[in-house]
Subunit: 419 residues, 2 copies
């Protein structure tokens, strides 16, 4: 992509009312646009990151047998009343609206109830189990405050996976697979080393749950980490009994601020009992289906990457989710430089290598460098009169201080085609 | 995909309250699930079709320079008031809701206003023009009636493209490119031969517009088609003057029922005037940006394909959007048959050929054939004791009456890998 064609521009300042680092950097870089408090649009650079995160999640969900679907946002009262979740006094984050005939509708806060109801039409026998479905679909949450940028918003896409099993044993087998899949996802998106499987309270649906928490000072949560064992305890359930039950010792646990980047819930039969989702066993009995639910928000993950990995110059995207593998800069008005950079860009395009090409003229080298640091592609390549003297491109990793000059052929070998 | 793993099942009957053919067939096939009147979920088979349609649209939008974004559904009053579209008396399909502090919000019916507002932050000079952006994002419309299945729903994903130009001339150049891109899209999705560029009234934003209308008896619109010239006039603007202006003759125009599968609007400066989106010309003047908007609903397109191309046995998917290229059926309990079909399926999987494998046992040949007709994959391949006698697979196109037996190698050569 040529920066002269990209409709977004970097800016020096974020909106004055923006207090989170992730939104500030992402708005300045033109990755997102603030529609209003707690509600953001994804612009071309930002959407490329979201899609890469989604594709990684999708691959991992497919690998464990998840089948992708896409459910509606609009929800009816009958779906949520059986679990006592329609009442605003019970669930206080609903956005409600109305049909023309005054029927009240809600905007899905999550999809446990409708998926349970839908499965009644498809699930009948033990032969239909185990089964799991997932989607990437918008959730709406009427939060009172929104001050964490894209980490906590009033409208966001979530990957939600739901599992159906014969009993707790079959459920736990799948639950274990999801745990591994989630670990893969956080590793692949570049925050594996900062992310811990965390013991937490059950939230909406069950007594206990597991979360994945990523350490960053911007986090709203507090966790106690056992680095060696690679697990943590959320402050909300942190007490002597839990520490003992988990075989941990208080002395080794270190307090950290963190962001919840994923959660996995055992729902048990709460929804299947209330909504009457049962199956016939081999013996001809009817039994309620044993369920689980598992969430990751790609936007929240993206925001967490920014919080956890940026430096004072800007963002540092991990390779697997960076919008482009290379940020190519041409410096100066020199015609030879322009021509060389232009041809290099076209060559890389032909090889399906993802390049953002800063082909802007009348922009100083300093400004281009500052923008490259702000935008945070893993690798920067500079074509200048100086680099051409040495017959090459000066490349520098975003995380390194110093660059080096390499030939065009070496650069091409360094970069992987996107498909 | 093995049908024994697919969580959906075909069914004999659609819900009693379902009056449209498209929803009836799609529900019976397990492509979609009815959440409530006018609101549907997409199940694995249906979502595969939507994604193929979206990818075709995306390719065509990228080809003409569109940049993909993703905007929020929640909208604030200030965005829509300048064009007088917030008032329910002016636009009567809003779903409205409220923040906790009682601020009224709306669910996007479309995105002209917010995109114009957003572009104020990025567009300043004639150098920034022309520009165009698009998204696949949910629209909400509080329709009074919903009886056309997935063709007209209260919640649907739309591909909406917005263009920004210096003046009408530059706008019309891009408008022409979109017209061609839309023709490509309808051709590639298999309804090109039934779809006409149609002269229509302007709807929400401008005096006149162009629609793409697909002929089917289920259509809510009436158009007058000149088959030779490949264009049509919508009944709403059908009069002697318009016929004359278009250089058509009344005698050659044939009345047809049709579905609007796409529309392209010249917005002019309506939004840029109201929301103050201007640019600086080469001469240093400020001028309002000249805009256009262009929509296609992938779900509506899918529903229209069903209406236009199905027969009395079921759906007939065009190759490019079919969920699977091949529906492989194994018939009978014969172990040799099972083994042959199983190995064939695994071989095809390895070659990235998209196969739905009806590996169900205890299901009669008749039921399998009926399901294959209902589900409508372009090609059916049957492995049976009879086909194995001739050392092959009996293949039959969905649109043909009779099949023929070919070898495994011939079958593999016939099918294209999906990537």
């Amino acid at each position: 992509m040529r920066q002269t064609k990209l409709f977004t521009k970097t800016r020096k300042e974020a909106p004055a009312d923006e207090v989170s680092k992730n939104a500030e950097l992402l708005i300045r870089g033109g990755f997102i646009h603030k529609e209003m408090a707690g509600i953001y649009d994804y612009l071309p650079l930002g959407l490329r990151i979201i899609k890469k995160i989604e594709n990684i999640i999708r691959e991992e969900m497919n690998k464990i047998g998840g089948q992708e679907i896409f459910m509606s946002s609009l929800q009816e009262r009958e779906t949520w009343e059986p679990t006592n979740q329609w009442d605003d006094k019970e669930v206080d984050v609903w956005f409600k609206t109305k049909l023309k005939n005054d029927t009240e509708l809600g905007l899905a806060i999550t999809h446990e109830a409708p998926i349970t109801k839908m499965f009644k039409g498809f699930l009948n026998s033990y032969r239909d189990l185990p089964s799991s479905v997932y989607q990437f679909q918008t959730k709406f949450r009427n939060e009172i405050r929104a001050k964490s940028g894209i980490i906590r918003t009033r409208e966001f896409v979530m990957k939600d996976l739901y599992s159906f099993a014969k009993d707790e044993k079959e459920h736990l087998e799948f639950y274990g697979k999801v745990t591994e899949a989630y670990k893969n996802i956080f590793k692949r998106t570049g925050i594996g080393h900062l992310t811990y499987l965390t013991f937490a309270s059950g939230g909406m649906f069950s007594k206990f749950s597991h979360e994945f928490q990523t350490i960053t000072s911007a986090g709203e949560d507090t966790i106690y980490v056992d680095e060696d064992k690679g697990i943590a305890i959320n402050k909300e359930v942190y007490n002597d009994e839990v520490i003992k039950n988990l075989g941990l010792s208080k002395e080794k646990l270190v307090e950290n601020k963190s962001v919840e980047v994923g959660n996995i819930f055992t729902l048990g039969t709460r929804f299947s009992d209330a909504l009457d989702l049962s199956y016939q066993t081999e013996d001809g009995e009817r039994k309620p289906v044993f369920m689980g639910s598992y969430g990751i928000g790609p936007g929240r993950l993206m925001g967490t990457v920014v919080e956890a990995l940026s430096d004072d110059k800007g963002i540092i995207w991990p390779e697997a989710i960076a919008p482009f593998a290379l940020h190519l800069l041409s410096l100066g008005e020199d015609e030879e430089v322009q021509k060389y950079a232009d041809e290099l860009y076209e060559d890389l395009q032909k090889k399906n290598i993802e390049v953002l090409f800063d082909d802007r003229k009348e922009i100083s080298a300093g400004e281009k460098f500052a923008d490259a640091d702000l935008l945070g592609m893993p690798l920067r390549g500079v074509v200048s009169a100086r680099s051409l003297k040495e017959n090459g491109i000066e490349i520098k990793a975003r995380t390194e201080e110093k660059g080096k000059i390499i030939s065009k052929e070496e650069l091409i070998n360094l970069l992987k085609p996107s498909h």
